[in-house]
């Protein structure tokens, strides 16, 4: 298996899926001529033509709104939002239509729309290039959400998203686009939605994370002299609740790591499920290590905002000593 960076794996998935299914098309800002500002769509326009890899006008609601119509016409649109925060103009179409249209037809029509976007901080970028918006998406009925942390999952989850009859949003951790490099299966590779990935098994404390926070959790595990379990949930909806509950049952101590602002982030959802379904297993508080309820800071101090291995390890120690 060849080693690929995470963004190369995304590009590979797009090539494979567009090859496999001629109904798949990619649209977005600068995805064609330029191949995407992160090169995630590089080569697609040459390979599949400007009709299947479309440079759109600068209009996110137009992109996602037209994807609804494209799906009605039989296409499987893969929409790129150029950056996390630039997906917000499309939230109206997402909430009112992408998540509801299948229901609105009584299930008569599917809307196999994929939305993919680079997300997250730590990349020394100007304002509004570092958001982690997954909570807005996962709170929206009718939407599925996946967030890979490895090149192989980036390929496999995107493939699953593209093949899904339901709308799926894939958040790609831009911090890992080029720093994460690992073996990625050639050709068709699908990672089913709804299955967590056990990163490492342990007995004393569970670190639950997704996306760019998975390596942070792994580094935290390395700093702890305890038997640490690290779980990458990688699919927020559908969620592998069994894997989470099993880990909690085993260790009784759970730290959840989330980069996004704290309030109503996905870590809250996981903690709430533990409070409801694992109460007798918990031997200590459920701790969320998260970003703060503040605008993502200037990059010279962004490291203060981002959850660090130290913060995660400290939280875990509190639980171990509880």
């Amino acid at each position: 298996m060849p080693a690929r960076t995470l963004v190369e794996a995304v590009n590979d998935a797009l090539h494979v899926e567009m090859e496999r299914d001629t109904d798949v098309m990619v649209l977005g800002e600068d995805v064609g001529r330029a191949g995407g500002v992160f090169r995630a769509t590089a080569g697609l326009r040459d390979r599949f033509g400007p009709d299947r890899c479309v440079d759109t006008p600068l209009a996110e609601a137009g992109i996602l709104g037209s994807a609804v119509g494209l799906a009605m016409a039989g296409w499987r649109p893969v929409c790129e939002m150029q950056y996390d925060a630039f997906s917000y103009p499309a939230l109206d179409q997402l909430i009112c239509h992408v998540g509801r249209y299948r229901w609105r037809t009584g299930g008569a029509m599917d809307f196999p729309i994929t939305i993919r976007m680079p997300y997250g901080g730590g990349v020394r970028a100007p304002e509004l290039h570092e958001d982690s918006p997954e909570a807005y998406y996962v709170h929206t009925p009718g939407i599925k959400v996946a967030i890979p942390s490895t090149p192989a999952d980036a390929k496999g989850l995107l493939a699953a998203a593209i093949r899904s009859e339901d709308p799926v949003v894939v958040f790609e951790p831009k911090l890992l686009y080029r720093t994460a490099r690992d073996e990625v299966p050639d050709g068709e590779h699908v990672v089913p939605l709804g299955k967590a990935r056990m990163v490492q098994e342990g007995d004393d404390v569970s670190l639950i994370a997704y996306g760019a926070m998975v390596p942070v959790a792994q580094r935290a595990a390395g700093e702890l002299d305890a038997s640490v379990e690290v779980l990458d949930i990688r699919s927020l909806r559908p969620l592998d609740e069994d894997a989470i509950l099993a880990s909690a049952a085993k260790t009784g101590r759970v730290v959840i790591v989330q980069e996004a602002p704290r309030t109503c982030g996905f870590a809250a959802e996981i903690a709430a499920r533990l409070a409801e379904k694992a109460i007798l297993d918990l031997r200590a508080p459920v701790v969320r290590v998260t970003g703060y309820d503040v605008p993502y800071p200037f990059w010279s101090i962004e490291d203060e905002y981002m959850p660090t291995p130290e913060r995660v390890a400290a939280a875990a120690r509190r639980l171990l000593e509880f």
Binding site: A61, S66, A71, M72, G74, P89, D92, Q93, D110, G142
Partner: protein, 346 residues
């Protein structure tokens, strides 16, 4: 590219006023066609008037009245081919009737009953869209997608004057032009967005002036003249199929009824103006035209309206005869593959 001069005051008309303004004929329309259009208008008018009654009787919920807008809806739909798609707003809730949708389906929608669901592909009529202008990008995407597949279909989106202020209209219209999508953007300028007059909605001299900003043709028609709407829509559809891209049509009309059954316009609308508009309403105008050209008489008119009424009465009977919906439907259809925990709720 046909474009309307910004200040062009006069709107296209086909139907005369029986006096100085002479009638025109639309080339290619047979008597049968004319009667079919008339029939559609009667169907819509009947649906609308009965719905208002049913609402008062508590047999349907809040309802968006379209009395006086039948010419726009029927004129446009008759100009389309059967495979062309229609994207209605709540104001065109019953437009599916002209595509063979049974009235009970639409009545069920207004009764808040899941039997109000329909399959857009079956009728080439998209679902009723409530958020203003948000259906415009859908219509554009459909048209663009059909074109990419080499299928001849085009799409038509209905929306109002207020909708032209929304970003969704703008992004959709611009995308349509850029992709040369075979889409028809049909704006029913009825002068009001609930209580907001079009004069407070925009400073554009005409709404058709907006077309130029997208590099697409913008035409104005008399929205009370079903044949003018028909003719303009035919031209737009031809242009679309010929690869000429989208057209913006401003159908100039007037809202002669409350915004919806819940609305009381007395606070903001001039009743005298409404009275005058109602005297000149579109069905009567077409009726008189057809009689002038000798296509319609009392007998046919009577027959058609009785048929429409019978269909509507049958429809409400079916709708009211429906069993109460299975609550289970709350959990159905949101997903092709529902997440396992969809029912978790304490």
């Amino acid at each position: 590219m046909t474009q309307v001069a910004p200040a062009e005051p006069d709107v296209r008309r086909v139907i005369g006023d029986g006096g100085d303004l002479a009638d025109r004929v639309v080339a290619g329309l047979t008597e049968t066609d004319l009667l079919a259009i008339y029939r559609s208008m009667v169907t819509l008018r009947t649906y609308d008037e009965r719905s208002v009654v049913y609402h008062r009787q508590g047999r349907i919920g809040t309802y968006a009245i379209f009395w006086g807008h039948e010419a726009i809806q029927a004129g446009a739909v008759h100009a389309l081919a059967d495979e062309d798609w229609i994207f209605p707003s709540y104001r065109e809730s019953a437009v599916g009737l002209l595509r063979g949708m049974p009235p009970e389906t639409i009545l069920a929608w207004w009764r808040g009953h899941p039997a109000g669901w329909w399959n857009p592909a079956e009728f080439r009529v998209a679902s009723i869209v409530v958020p203003i202008a948000s259906q415009v990008p859908h219509a554009v995407g459909l048209a663009w997608g059909k074109k990419l597949r080499g299928e001849g279909a085009c799409s038509l989106a209905f929306f109002g004057d207020g909708a032209t202020s929304e970003g969704a209209f703008h992004e959709g219209a611009n995308l349509a032009a850029v992709m040369a999508a075979p889409a028809i953007l049909l704006c029913n300028n009825n002068g009001w967005a609930i209580s907001t007059p079009v004069s407070a909605q925009t400073r554009a001299v005409t709404l058709a002036d907006k077309a130029r900003g997208y590099g697409m043709p913008g035409v104005r028609v008399d929205g009370g003249d079903v044949l003018a709407v028909y003719e303009a829509t035919c031209e737009a559809a031809e242009r679309a199929r010929a690869g000429g891209g989208p057209t913006f049509i401003e159908a100039v009309s007037y809202r002669m009824a409350p915004h919806a059954t819940a609305d009381d316009p007395s606070a903001y609308i001039d009743p005298e103006r409404v009275r005058l508009e109602r005297e000149n309403e579109c069905l009567g105008r077409f009726d008189r035209y057809l009689r002038r050209v000798g296509v319609l008489d009392d007998e046919i008119a009577q027959k058609l309206s009785e048929e429409a009424l019978a269909a509507m009465k049958a429809g409400i009977a079916v709708a009211e005869g429906l069993p109460p919906p299975d609550p289970e439907l709350v959990f159905r259809h949101a997903y092709a593959e529902p997440p396992p925990d969809l029912r978790d709720a304490g």
